[in-house]
Amino acid sequence: MAKVFNDSVFKDIDEAKRKWEAKLERIFQEAPERLKRFITVSDREINRIYTPLDVKELDYNRDLGFPGEYPYTRGVQPSMYRGRLWTMRMFAGLGTAKDTNRRFHLLVNAGQTGLSVAFDMPTLMGYDSDSPRSRGEIGRCGVAIDTVKDMEELFEGLPVDRLTTSMTINPPASVIWAMYIAAAENRGIPRKLLGGTIQNDMLKEFIAQKTFMLPPIPSVKLIIDTVEFGTKQVPKWNTISISGYHIREAGSTAVQELAFTLADGIAYTQAAIERGLDVDDFAPRFSFFFNSHIDFFEEIAKFRAARRMWAKIMRERFKAKNPRSWWLRFHTQTAGCSLTAQQPYNNIVRTTLEALAAVLGGTQSLHTNSLDEVLALPTEEAATIALRTQQIIAEESGVANTIDPLGGSYFVEALTNKMEEEAFEIIQKIDDMGGMLAAIEKHYPQQEIADSAYKYQLQLDSGERTLVGVNKYVMEEEIPVEILEIDEELERIQIEKLWRIKEERDQGKVKECLEKVGEACFKDENVMEHLIEAVKNYCTLQELCDVYRSVYGTYRDPGIF
């Protein structure tokens, strides 16, 4: 026990607070408070002041502890940024693999410390560039990947045995990961040396991001295949990045983001245990991904609450014994949805605040959005400014000098407690529905998010909420910013390349490989080893996804609004 406040202090503080409030009342009688409600971006009302009275029960060792110690409120590693800074990992992808490779080299030369791949829509949805469904979408919001050849070009000249790579890929995650492993092995780098992350979180796709291919149950089956394979064969890989980012972008509140993400984590843990895996074998390779929105303190409290909650969930609910299983390690991206097309240079400031919140919240890696990301893919200049923002926070501002500098703030601790409590209530509700898969079938998280998004928009429209440059401080004449153009020729180049590969490969081998993957699906065996063999023989992304689609069927958006 290490209670921070002795019960005897509360009476005196309470008395002093009452006096102060009486004084305030007199002041506000003459001139009222600036706003009727002081609210966060998640519509949470914030009090005038926080004191020990708001955290009466705070027990230092039980609730906060030291960094690297249960319940990890103050950070997962003992040394945090005193040892090593967070990984600066800029999400990038455009045009062909060659175009994106050029951008990666630029970012690495500018000092970024990890890679992160953005794929184009066809790749994300499991279509090749020559599919009719891909028309007009190739290389537009990320890089086009059809075969292992593209994957090889994507990482040419980059030290993937030293740099970790994160890949935002979901329905075809198993296939893309197989291509990454195959490309590395073709270069002579063994799979056990590979470090990185595949997002591979389908539950949040059904809930929020909406890139889906197969129905929920086979989607989870394939995820657990990667978890099982990674545990045994690629031990440094994070086989899943359980993501709140997209839930928040879709319009959820901070607490909904927290609750739905951890509930997804519970569902995956459950599924892996049901596969027969030991929680302490796979849980240390689960990673998380959160949004850092504009409301500074609420975000910091969210990150701190997330760590404490996951530690409790893993230790108490799943009886994990390895402390690494209790760690919630997370990547953060600043909030795309907080950026404005109007006066886009203001976005640099928004991103700075959001990045600062992520750092004060103890993130393990960070992507900072570029000022122009609300308009198009970022230009080189805009991406560089975004990276510089992280470097200034890291190396000039001094905020990384001490660990969890806001720990002990009455406000931040009270908010951390409150968010944890509310998020656990939502998780309980989901448990009562029969878990996240059942909740998704009932459209529960989808509907909750849509409600929050609509409410937020109405508050913006009514002016209750301010968005600088949009509903206040509007300028008639705006300074235009340069926009990145994707070459229209790219579609033809990519399709011709794919056709050449399809022509030159060993067709018999391709057929055999595709059949083996199909067989593994039918027999409910792990597909990973078959996929690696298939992509090495130039089976394409879509060919493999078509095998999945033919075995498992497809999922259609219920179109709820």
Binding site: M121, P122, L124, M125, Y127, R133, S134, R135, G136, E137, R140, C141, E205, Q209, K210, T211, E249, A250, G251, C337, T340, A341, Q342, V374, L375, A376, L377, A450, A453, Y454, Q457, L458, L460, D461, L467, V470, N471, P480, I483, I486, R556, D557, P558, G559, I560, F561
Partner: protein, 135 residues
């Protein structure tokens, strides 16, 4: 002769999954008293035009946030023409660069709403520009 309510379709063409805006707009239209059909995600232009005809809508609102509007919006316009239903008003919204707007309008897209447009402005625009057909 009784006039029916304005009947609108909110549509998501292509593979783009960003549906926050489309769903918010669909609700705003419903709250404004319109009849609303939402296609859901991942529709081809062919599917959208077919559904618009089947549902007998007065307007289609196309939403795109992943850069494929340059192909998908003109394709929808082309198909409406082929099917002889150019009288259906089409507007669009999402991440559409300023330079693309005049080109899309030249193809018959009546208006483009970019991020930050208040909902009531879009609703007013619909009331002014879309006339419900007689019942």
């Amino acid at each position: 002769m009784s006039q029916r309510r304005i009947r609108v379709m909110v549509a998501k063409p292509g593979l783009d999954g960003h549906d926050r805006g489309a769903r918010v707009i669909a609700r705003a239209f419903r709250d404004a008293g319109f009849e609303v059909v939402y296609t859901g995600l991942h529709q081809t232009p062919e599917e959208i035009v077919e559904a618009a005809i089947q549902e007998d809508v007065d307007m289609i609102g196309l939403s795109s946030l992943a850069g494929a509007h340059r192909f998908l919006f003109p394709r929808v316009m082309e198909l409406l023409k082929e099917r002889g239903v150019e009288d259906i008003v089409v507007c669009g919204g999402g991440i559409i660069p300023d330079d693309d707007i005049p080109k899309l309008k030249a193809m018959g897209v009546k208006e483009i709403f970019t991020p930050g447009t208040p909902l009531h402005k879009i609703v007013e625009w619909v009331k002014e520009n879309v006339k419900p057909r007689e019942a």
